[in-house]
């Protein structure tokens, strides 16, 4: 059905339209409208995937595995929905900041990045995934370097170089899988990998895991992230921080549930997750700048998502999916707060800021809400996410991992308190203006974390259904290959 590709086509068309329009105001309207339409398209896809299972579209009407197929299962649809939502609200935040460089190409780049991201979530073809990753990455390179100074270009070079290496590793993995199985279609691979030569499959899967791991910033491949995410302007960093690494997480889930499914706890994956959690949060604790603290947290939280994956049961995967979705909302909200502060006060350094809660009470409230959610304090969504992960871990008998997860959540709280007592408490500053649009963008994401905290039953149901689908790769294969 066409719904499977709509979340890619709508942003693509929006991008093209934006390039064509001259008037600034019209362009903004079109851009925001396009963002809203993308959200609707993804939500429609979510409804379809929930009701009918995998939504398959054969591009060009060529059957899999000969042509490219879009196979939108519930996980992919959910990720594209939240991705579109984040893209929209970060765009709103951008509207608040005066930007002479926001010309037509910027908007095009924004929507093309969304198109690339949604394509990565929804495609059912491994090489197509590589292409969409490249689209996503190139647009991110473009957005990061727009208006960059020399110093920023240096940091961007690191980002680009690491990702090129990762992409090459991905390509190698795809090549090896083709040599082993004879196609690059995910469903076909899933069906044929068990009979293929392990001398090719094992290195290939490992290479794919490394490539996805670099993008997801897991240990020990995460070092590029904190430097990179400090470069771009606030809302751009919020979009990156909220979504980019989660594409890598999605790919890891796809790898270890569909292509080479796990059948129980996988020790090395759990070890990687634990180390990621710990090193990320310790890195955050060592920082004196709000934005850098939040960037390190991204890494730490990825650890939880990989922990859910590594436990290897559909129940744990549901926990991981719920955690991912919640985290995107809370993290982006926090980054948008940081972006608003930076736009008005010119800095996010904890040494220079104080008393923001008194100057901007509502911003303080939303910060507290999002920060507590991230640290896993009830009744917000982060608590349920943490509870799910703890429960899955205890049921699987991974006590050490659960202890680490709980300890890390405490340290996360500590670092959030560091930001709060450092920047939000204290004598109030010279009051500067924070635009209502920026408030709105924060609310757009923070409200999700509240809604999912108080009424997260629906989300949990969706996450559980998505995980159940992941636990049935045969069903996926049937839907994609078995004639539609």
């Amino acid at each position: 059905m066409n719904a499977a590709v709509a979340p890619v086509v709508v942003p693509l068309l929006t991008a093209l339209l934006c390039v064509g329009l001259q008037a600034r105001r019209t362009r903004w309207t079109v851009s925001l409208a396009g963002g809203g339409l993308s959200v609707l398209a993804s939500l429609w896809l979510v409804a379809l995937a929930h009701g009918h299972g995998v939504v398959v579209l054969r591009v060009g009407s060529w059957p899999a595995p000969y042509g490219i197929v879009f196979a939108a299962d519930l996980l992919g649809a959910l990720m594209s929905a939240i991705g579109s939502w984040v893209a929209l609200w970060t765009l709103v935040a951008l509207a608040a900041q005066p930007h002479p460089r926001l010309d037509a190409f910027f908007h095009a780049g924004w929507h093309l990045m969304l198109a690339g991201m949604n394509g990565a979530f929804l495609t059912g073809d491994l090489f197509n995934l590589y292409v969409f990753f490249e689209v996503l990455l190139v647009t991110s390179y473009f957005l990061v370097t727009l208006g960059a100074t020399r110093r920023q270009a240096r940091e961007a070079f690191t980002y680009v170089a690491v990702n090129i290496v990762a992409s090459t590793i991905l390509l190698m993995g795809v090549a090896l899988l083709y040599a082993a199985v004879g196609s690059v279609n995910m469903a076909d691979l899933a069906a044929r990998i068990p009979q293929a030569s392990p001398g090719l499959v094992r290195p290939a899967v490992f290479l794919l895991a490394v490539a996805f791991g670099v993008k997801a910033a897991v240990f020990p491949l995460y070092a590029w992230l904190p430097h990179t995410y400090a470069i771009p302007a606030g809302p751009v960093a919020a979009y990156f921080g909220g979504m980019l690494t989660k594409v890598g997480v999605y790919a890891l889930y796809r790898l270890f549930t569909t292509l080479q499914p796990l059948h129980g706890p996988e020790p090395w994956l759990l070890a990687v997750a634990g180390l990621t959690m710990v090193l990320g949060v310790l890195g955050a604790l060592a920082q004196e700048d709000m934005r850098r603290i939040l960037s390190f947290h991204i890494v730490s939280q990825i650890g939880y998502m990989v922990f859910g994956l590594g436990l290897g049961t559909p129940q744990a995967w549901a926990a991981g999916i719920f955690y991912t979705l919640h985290n995107i909302a809370a993290k982006t909200a926090l980054l948008l707060v940081s972006s608003a502060v930076e736009a008005s006060y010119g800095t996010t350094s904890l040494r220079s800021l104080a008393g923001l809660a008194h100057a901007h009470p509502w911003l303080g409230v939303w910060f507290v809400v999002a920060a507590l959610s991230l640290a896993g304090i009830p009744p917000l969504s982060g608590f349920w996410a943490k509870l799910l992960v703890v429960q899955a871990g205890l049921e699987a008998g991974e006590f050490a991992g659960v202890a680490v997860a709980l300890a890390v959540s405490l340290v996360t709280l500590l670092s959030m308190l560091k930001i709060f007592t450092g920047a939000f408490w204290g004598p109030p500053p010279e009051r500067s203006h924070i635009s209502p649009l920026e408030h709105a963008s924060v609310v757009g994401l923070a409200a999700l974390t509240v809604a999912w905290g108080v009424g997260g039953g629906t989300l949990l149901e969706l996450a559980t259904a998505a995980a159940r689908a992941l636990g049935d790769p045969a069903g996926y294969v049937r839907a994609v290959l078995g004639g539609h």
Partner: protein
């Protein structure tokens, strides 16, 4: 022949890595270029070397596998775009008309 090609792939990767780990920006870009050549060749190897003829319908079988060739093509073009971008980035980092620290 496959052994020789595999050795070339290894050589490309080794040299590319060596250059990539150095400190000079442009040499790093050259290193990335070598690595991408290596990856492309590997894709070709993955498709098998048994084909005696180019993948045109007019040619008799055994023909070379068209899929890896298409994949390499895509990878080459994408790689080209990114190399160009990297070069521009390198230029930005060290441009002669310096304006900011």
């Amino acid at each position: 022949m496959n052994a020789l090609l595999a050795a070339l792939v290894g050589l490309l990767f080794a040299a590319g890595t060596w250059l990539l780990l150095g400190q000079r920006i442009l040499r790093q870009v050259i290193g990335l270029g070598l690595i991408s050549h290596g990856a492309n060749l590997m894709v070709l190897l993955a498709g098998g070397l048994g084909g005696r003829h180019a993948p045109l319908l007019a040619n008799p079988t055994p023909r070379a596998d068209p899929l890896p060739q298409a994949l390499i093509l895509t990878a080459i073009v994408i790689g080209f775009g990114i190399t160009a971008f990297l070069l521009a980035l390198g230029y930005r980092m060290h441009a002669l008309e310096e304006d900011e620290p």
